[in-house]
Amino acid sequence: MYPIVIFASILSFTLSYLLTPLIIKFSASRGFVGVDIHKPKKPKVPTLGGIAITIAIVVSALLLLPLYPIQITTFLLTVMIGALVGLVDDLKQLSGYPKMLITVVASFPLFIAGYLFPSEIKLGRPVVPILGKLRLTIVYWFLLPLAIAVPSNAVNMLEVFNGVMPITCGIASASLLVSSMIINSKIGIALSLILLGSLLGYLPYNKYPAKVFSGNVGSYVVGAAIGSLAIISGLEFELIVVLLPHILNALLVILSVGGIKERRSIRVRPIIIEVNGLLRANNDSRAPLTLTRVILTLSGPLTELEIVNVITVLELWSAMLSLATSLLKVVSI
């Protein structure tokens, strides 16, 4: 592997780690704060931490531009569209469907690059376990717009507790890194390392108790980065498997509230915070069904940290299934 790839990953970690405190100061001074609703005292926490992740990813990926010009340009365009959607949502609060539709735009760089440079960005023939190359000649092109929209929105919808986004997406990136090694995708290794570096640098500030929230900009950037790197590296099937907890949560929410709705517009909350700080499932039948509500229903009241631990175990399990997918792929080829 090129030393510059290792350097880019370390740079990504360092930038994210050093920039986040500056973003915290900036957000606090400009009034970009959110209420940490799962704490008994409801503290106000600076938002927009995702800007540090975005800068770290963009600057580090630019270092690799001479090595993989087409792939990195495509990746960066996707990530920057994701960042723009997230930032607009943080500042103006977009509603559910427009947000979903705008994130579809983030997949356009993939379409264009796949059309103009088919030898660099190979689209349309994903490899799956046992069967090898699929003949998704038509379906693939209908599903491609969802490759960025689904990860971005699904990551955003599960990001409700301290540390969940960097932990689950960090595990997902690590899993995609190993999958890239298994299928010998150099660009996959490089992009996963950059994403992993930025998330690890950010985690100390967002873990329980959070000093900063990622904001929509954080979840959209990371979701877009995961989707983009998986498509560019030919890890489409692994992408779906590694994000299964996010996808399950998104499906439960969307189908239980009858469509894509903005979090703030849902009146009955899925969980209730007790005075002692424990969280329990809301038994109200009008409350949306979420992954957290299911966890709390089955386990009884838990602390926020315990819920994060359960979600982490679920993400680790999905990562295992994703790795099994890559190994099965290699065996079947």
Partner: protein, 77 residues
């Protein structure tokens, strides 16, 4: 670890594994069944997409039914 927390973990890892198996089965059905025996046509596309949608539906609604049953049992208790 609390027994109930362990139960939640077992249930949800089961749901995730079930999703993974259903995905593989739907792909195999489409590739080995539909793609091999139906010639390239609009019908083949519709059958292929239909199979994926049906498998997703089976997975989601069976999981939702299980979750709702657990919810109702707990509400009764």
């Amino acid at each position: 670890m609390k027994a109930s927390k362990f139960k939640a973990l077992i249930f949800l890892t089961g749901v995730l594994t079930y999703a993974w198996i259903m995905m593989l089965l739907s792909l195999m059905l489409v590739e080995i069944g539909i793609m091999r025996y139906v010639s390239n046509s609009t019908l083949r596309t519709i059958l292929g997409i239909g199979t994926y949608v049906v498998f997703l539906g089976i997975w989601y609604f069976s999981v939702k039914r299980l979750i709702n049953r657990e919810l109702q049992e707990l509400q009764k208790g």
